[in-house]
């Protein structure tokens, strides 16, 4: 199988005053379609920088980034915009929902950029929110939601266009352990469901354990690129998501079936 995300001798140097900061030295890697890939490493090792290059948010100093057949490192900003509309999704650490739009409007935004009519995109956004267990919150503004809820809206927004690749930079960085597990569970489930390639930067070792591939970065270089074997993966996931499934907010909220006190507490703190 050909990798869907391919990086060749990627180098990124930042110039701070007269000093040069080599964020990425010489990175080459490939991520296969449908894979869940975690990028791990120490703080300042260059994880975010790498992800930004992969997603085309920044131009590399040297080297090439391919997504599918397209060399995104050579695209103009407008070409990139179109390309993102068609193929890429993003989940941010700090959610980055538009504060003046409701949850459903936020989720529908990529559809709006693509030119989908109001009715149709609201329908699709609603469906996506439901899958995230947020149907009740559809008309809430971000400030009226908890961090976990906001991140679920962010995930719904990333998935609404059914992109080929989703990039996430520490998507659970602002959440507590319990919520992190729930959010991660949903992300992985959605990725699997849609066959989406999922590239995630994370600090947390146990999160990485659930991935198909773990790329470790050190000082701007790839330290290791490991495809996790099925057995370890299954074990890790079972451990990680034990009890999560039962505690999940139901996809279709039913008034008669209230959230468990535990979930409620973590969601609405």
């Amino acid at each position: 199988m050909n990798p869907i995300v391919r990086v060749e001798h990627l180098r990124k140097v930042y110039r701070v005053g007269k000093e040069k900061v080599v964020a990425l030295n010489d990175v080459s890697l490939g991520i296969l379609p449908g894979e869940v890939c975690c990028i791990v490493g120490a703080s300042g090792s260059g994880k975010s920088t790498l992800l930004n290059q992969l997603a085309g948010l920044e131009k590399p100093t040297k080297g090439k980034v391919y997504i599918g057949q397209h060399e995104i490192s050579a695209m103009t900003e407008n070409e990139l915009a179109k390309f993102r509309q068609a193929h890429l999704g993003f989940i941010f650490q700090s959610y980055n929902l538009l504060p003046n739009l409701t949850a459903v409007e936020n989720v529908a935004m990529p559809l709006m950029f693509k030119g989908v009519g109001r009715k149709e995109r609201t329908k699709q956004a609603m469906a996506q929110l439901k899958r995230m267990g947020l149907a009740k919150r559809a008309n809430h503004k971000p400030t009226e939601m908890s961090g976990g809820q906001q991140q679920r809206v962010g995930i719904a927004r990333a998935f609404v266009l059914k992109p080929k690749v989703i990039f996430a930079d520490e998507p659970t960085g602002n959440l507590d352990t319990k919520t992190t597990r729930q959010v991660l569970y949903r992300m992985l489930a959605m990725a699997k469901e849609n066959g989406t390639t999922f590239v995630m930067v994370t600090h947390e070792k146990d999160l990485a354990g659930c991935a198909d591939r773990v790329i470790t970065i050190q000082d701007g270089n790839v330290l290791s690129d490991i495809v996790v074997d099925e057995e370890t993966k299954a074990k890790n996931r079972a451990q990680m998501f034990a009890g999560v499934e039962e505690n999940l907010v139901p996809d279709e909220p039913v008034a008669a079936q209230p959230d468990t006190p535990d979930t409620k507490k973590s969601e609405e703190k």
Partner: protein, 490 residues
């Protein structure tokens, strides 16, 4: 992305920042309002001037004189002879419809008689004009027809003429003494019963005899002609005073009378005076008609024709359109000054818009970054901000125009309004008649502020343009924001 979505995003943004939007709008409203009102005042002023000029006389007439002030009697500087040949040259100039002198022979004196035994008498005063020019010169008729070119002296002693409608009043009754009030009848005179008194001579019926004499003490030689009235001119001072109580003949007939008179009296024709009535130096040599009137087809061509006449060598040229141009120049100057003031206020409004948009972009940097990452094209982001600033301009323009109408209404009805408020006190005594007339007529017989439709459209378009232009720089700045840096920002 659909235009409707773009519009909604923009208007939502405007609505969200209501306070700031309104403040920015007020700036545009004031600017637009000032510009519209200033221009409307200028337009009204211009119209009043035009009306005033029209009351002065015909704007399309040019008067050319056969002398020059600057050259004195000096031959080199003198204009060419203003004769019939030159008249033909004038007529060849494009846009000239007619050219004629109002020739009053200097060397011809005669009396007109009417009634039994030549009882009624008046001095013969004639204007020789080109028959083809009469209508073009603004002469209108009460009855009869114009002179025609071939209709000169019909039989040997009969001369066709036009007379003014009040020509009859110029006759006096020679049987009454000079001291008697009955020697004259003036126009508008009423008899004891309040009926108008008719003149001694009925110009339509009575036979009128022109008689010239060599005034010899014994046995004076005389010549007689009969004047045949072919038309009666309507009294109109714009066309000339002679239309009221004068006589118009073809130039040819006037010249013939002149020759006859010279033959009769033996006096030589020519330039018996050297200073013109206007003070200009006359040349001793005969330089043709003292002045000639030229009629142009349209006001806008007058300046052009004047230039061509100047090129022929004539220096003294008069027309009301010269006055008109001066007036228009003045109005334009005033408009420019007023408009300049207004433009400054709109400039301030533009800076205001730019400032508002810059702030909006600063506030929404993160939002713009997120939109970019989610695949919003650059053009749409620019469009969003341009729509916002354009909408401020457009709305401000519309409101400004509406307010301008109110201001204009107030200006135009100031007197009425003041009276309504009971502030007027001087004229209270004679209110019934006087001030009613003033109310109807307004100031100087016209509105002081006029807002034509093109001003409305222009003002709104201009305000919108101001919005767009002042939003352009901030919008471009928004486009240039790096998505990554924008997202990182807190």
């Amino acid at each position: 992305m659909k235009i409707s979505d773009l519009l909604k995003l923009s208007t939502d943004n405007l609505r969200r920042r209501k306070g700031r939007t309104v403040l920015t709008l007020i700036g545009v409203v004031i600017g637009t309002c000032l510009i519209v009102v200033m221009i409307s005042l200028g337009i009204a002023l211009n119209q009043q001037y035009e009306g005033m000029l029209r009351s002065y006389g015909d704007l399309t007439k040019i008067q050319v004189y056969n002398y020059t002030y600057s050259g004195g009697g000096n031959n080199e500087n003198a204009p060419p002879v203003l004769d019939d040949k030159m008249l033909e040259t004038f007529k060849q100039i494009p846009h000239v419809i007619a050219a004629t002198p109002q020739y009053q022979p200097s060397n011809l004196s005669a009396q007109l008689y009417a009634g039994k035994g030549d009882r009624y008498q008046t001095y013969f005063n004639v204007n020789g004009m080109d028959p083809a020019s009469l209508e073009a010169m603004g002469i209108t008729l009460v009855s009869g027809g114009y002179l025609s070119a071939d209709q000169t002296t019909t039989s040997k002693n009969k001369i066709p003429v036009l007379v003014g409608e009040n020509f009859g009043y110029s006759f006096e009754d020679t049987r009454k003494s000079y001291n008697s009030g009955k020697r004259y009848v003036y126009q508008g005179q009423l008899d004891a019963n309040g009926n108008p008194v008719p003149p001694f001579v009925d110009i339509n019926k009575d036979k009128m005899i022109l008689r010239m004499s060599d005034n010899a003490e014994n046995n004076p030689k005389t010549r007689e002609y009969e004047l045949v009235v072919v038309g009666v001119m309507k009294s109109d001072y714009n066309a000339g005073y002679f239309t009221d109580s004068g006589i118009v003949m073809s130039i040819a007939d006037v010249k013939k009378l002149e020759q006859a008179y010279q033959k009769l009296t033996g006096s030589k024709g020519g330039n018996s005076y050297m200073v013109s009535s206007t003070g200009g130096l006359m040349r001793e040599k005969d330089n043709g008609y003292n002045n000639v009137y030229i009629k142009v087809d349209d006001v806008d061509n007058v300046a052009d024709v004047e230039q061509q006449i100047k090129d022929l060598g004539y220096k003294e040229i008069q027309s009301l359109s010269q006055v008109r141009e001066q007036m228009q120049g003045q109005v334009r100057k005033q408009q420019l000054t007023l408009g300049g003031l207004a433009a400054v206020s709109l400039l301030v409004a533009a800076l205001n818009i730019a400032n508002t948009m810059t702030m909006a972009i600063y506030e929404r940097t993160k939002e713009i970054g997120v939109m970019k990452v989610l695949g919003c094209e650059l053009g749409k982001i620019r469009g969003m901000f341009l729509i916002e600033s354009g909408a401020i301009g457009f709305l401000g323009g519309v409101v400004g125009v509406v307010i301008s109408y109110v201001v204009s209404f107030i200006i135009n009805n100031l007197q009425t309004i003041i009276m309504f408020l009971g502030l007027q006190n001087q004229q209270n005594g004679e209110m019934g008649y006087d001030s009613m007339g003033m109310m109807g007529g307004g100031m100087m017989g016209g509105a002081s502020s006029i807002i034509p439709w093109w001003l409305v459209v222009g003002a709104i378009l201009f305000a919108t343009l101001v919005g767009l232009v002042s939003g352009a720089v901030p919008a471009n700045k928004a486009v240039k924001i790096s998505a990554l840096e924008a997202i990182r920002r807190e």
